[in-house]
């Protein structure tokens, strides 16, 4: 197997007496979609926050493309190509949809100490933004105010923003959250289309989506990894079934 793109070793974090990340060792291969599932409170979002750099782990290490990034700040990790979508949509509500994505492009288009030229007429920002919008199916909504979008469209916008940063690794925190079946199916199609182009760590509760997309699945309970492997292996794992899946998924 090629060298792992993302690797954590014995990652630990506690909040007071509560252990939220318990010696998590994870391997994510380049180009794969690696899903993390588990019951609520398993520490999945915390793990994403640690991977993104928003939270500092108490101990353990995180390596990205061979380099140790454990102590690196969030903005620096983003510059390295780690992009994150939030569980609760985090966009620029007052701006237009196109502005939102253009801002993401701007983040990786050199410095922003430019005080004179209008950024809204800068093709180097607007054109890539439009391309990404087309990719996620929001091309007609480009001029709408982000706040006016439906929930599903907002989630799609969030994905567009992270894609616009041309990431090497996508950390997706419940992208399907709150979506109806149609929107969710659209999101699955979108992510499937990105397979192989971008490596993804996907935290999700929607089991249909997980089994449709994931190359490998890791199961977390109370901050600990209890199983990790191919979708078939996980489906058949007795402990996982007892802890999380129940009999329905078999």
């Amino acid at each position: 197997m090629a060298e792992a793109l993302l690797e954590t070793r014995d990652l630990c974090k506690s909040f007071g007496g509560l252990v939220v990340t318990d010696a998590v060792s994870l391997l994510v291969a380049p180009g794969e979609i690696h899903a993390i599932i588990g019951p609520n409170g398993a520490g999945k979002t915390t793990l994403i926050a640690e991977l993104a750099g928003e939270l500092k782990p108490d101990s353990g290490s995180i390596r990205f493309a061979g380099a140790d990034i454990t102590r690196l700040a969030m903005a620096r990790r983003a510059a390295l190509g780690i992009a994150r979508s939030f569980q609760i949509t985090s966009i620029f509500r007052e701006f237009s949809v196109l502005d939102n994505v253009a801002m993401a492009v701007q983040a990786h288009a050199g410095h922003s100490f430019r005080f004179w030229r209008s950024a809204r007429r800068d093709a180097r920002l607007r054109d890539p933004a439009r391309q990404v919008l087309a990719q996620v199916g929001l091309a007609e909504r480009a001029e709408s105010r982000a706040a006016a979008l439906s929930h599903g469209e907002k989630r799609a916008l969030e994905i567009a923003m992270v894609l616009a940063t041309r990431p090497r690794l996508l950390l997706l925190d419940e992208p399907m959250a709150g979506m109806g079946p149609q929107d969710a199916a659209g999101m699955v199609r979108l992510l499937a289309a990105l397979k192989r182009q971008v490596t993804m760590v996907l935290v999700e509760h929607d089991m249909d989506a997980v089994f449709a997309l994931a190359d490998r699945i890791t199961v977390m309970v109370y901050g600990r990894i209890i199983a990790s492997g191919t979708p078939d292996a996980i489906r058949g794992d007795a402990e996982v079934r007892r802890a999380y899946l129940g009999e329905a998924a078999a």
């Binding site: 701006f95 922003s112 100490f113 004179w116």
Partner: protein, 319 residues
């Protein structure tokens, strides 16, 4: 359509400002020239605050400090016999920038309520500093013997000349600000106000940009201070009193936060209101105070927003 109305309001206001001195002098009421010069100077100060408050979401409650630094730069240099205009203004601008850099470097490490309190505290510190420096007049203030000397270029001692200089500065700043707001830097600052967490997640090192915005804002306010010293030929610690910072902030809110021209109208509104009310009763603050409370509680987009028919919440992202 909002754009047309907006241009109309701005155009009419600027035209009114342009012809006022002629009318006032013809009518034998030079007082209005001085009053409007004062309004425009505070409009510049309010504009500078709007850049970081209305667009950047940074609630700096200590902006009057830069007004004071600019004024004292002119005053202290004049005290030592240095009356060269270019030199005085250069010092005023550099000193404000330096102060904003130092204050910003500490304050911007915090946010929210901490930030408000800390900017207030630093402004208070400078106020006390000015009060305690007895050689420069301390509490009584410092008289300035003559206006900044710009040789044959302009005579700032002539009220109409000073008026048009200030008007010109205001116009240039309005234009520059509009370019700034729509530039990459400007959009970034607005993005920080909208969702700083998202900005950081996208990879922007937000601190340095906030600091630069803060410095720009303080510097422009310092320029206003230098002009103020020329208007009043006097500088005293009261320029930097924290209530002055509150007044500048009220001007931004009254006029319409996040609109660039709103603060200009806000300055006019506030100072005209103050002039009218203080003429009516010596207890005018007892009326202005509750009035301000009501405005805050019930206004949405300020006076400018009202004029151009905007009913959305304060601040527009595509302004």
């Amino acid at each position: 359509m909002s754009v047309a109305r907006r241009s109309l309001v701005i155009g009419v206001s600027l035209a009114a400002l342009a012809i006022t001195p002629a009318i006032a002098l013809a009518a034998g009421e030079p007082f209005y020239v001085t009053l409007l010069t004062r309004i425009m100077i505070f409009a510049i100060a309010a504009l500078s605050l709007d850049l970081i408050l209305g667009y950047g979401g940074m609630v700096s409650f200590g902006h009057a400090a830069y007004l004071g630094i600019g004024a004292y730069a002119v005053g202290i240099l004049a005290f030592y016999g240095i009356t060269s205009g270019p030199l005085q203004f250069a010092v005023a601008i550099l000193a404000s920038a330096a102060a904003a850099a130092m204050i910003g470097a500490v304050s911007l490490r915090t946010s929210g309520v901490y930030f408000i309190m800390i900017t207030l505290a630093f402004a208070q510190m400078l106020y006390f500093l000015a009060e305690s420096l007895n050689i420069y007049g301390g509490d009584d203030g410092l008289n300035i013997a003559q206006p900044s000397d710009f040789g044959r270029l302009v005579d700032l001692g002539d009220p109409p000349t000073l008026y048009y200089v200030v008007l010109a500065v205001l116009l240039v700043l309005l234009l520059l600000s509009r370019q700034l707001i729509n530039s990459r830097f400007g959009l970034l600052v607005q993005g920080v106000k909208s969702n700083e967490r998202r900005m950081a997640a996208l990879g922007f090192p937000t601190f340095r940009y906030k600091l630069v915005a803060f410095i720009l804002s303080g510097t422009i306010c310092g320029l206003a201070g230098a002009l103020f010293a020329n208007l009043t030929l006097f500088c005293s610690p009261s320029i930097m009193h924290w209530t002055r910072s509150g007044e500048i902030m009220m001007m931004v809110i009254l006029g319409g936060m996040g609109s660039l021209f709103g603060p200009v109208l806000g300055a006019a509104l506030y100072l005209l209101l103050e002039t009218v009310l203080s003429g009516a009763t010596e207890h005018w603050q007892a009326i202005l105070g509750p009035l301000l409370v009501l405005v805050v509680l019930f206004s949405r987009s300020g006076f400018f927003g009202m004029l151009i028919g905007e009913r959305t919440a304060r601040g527009r992202a595509d302004g």
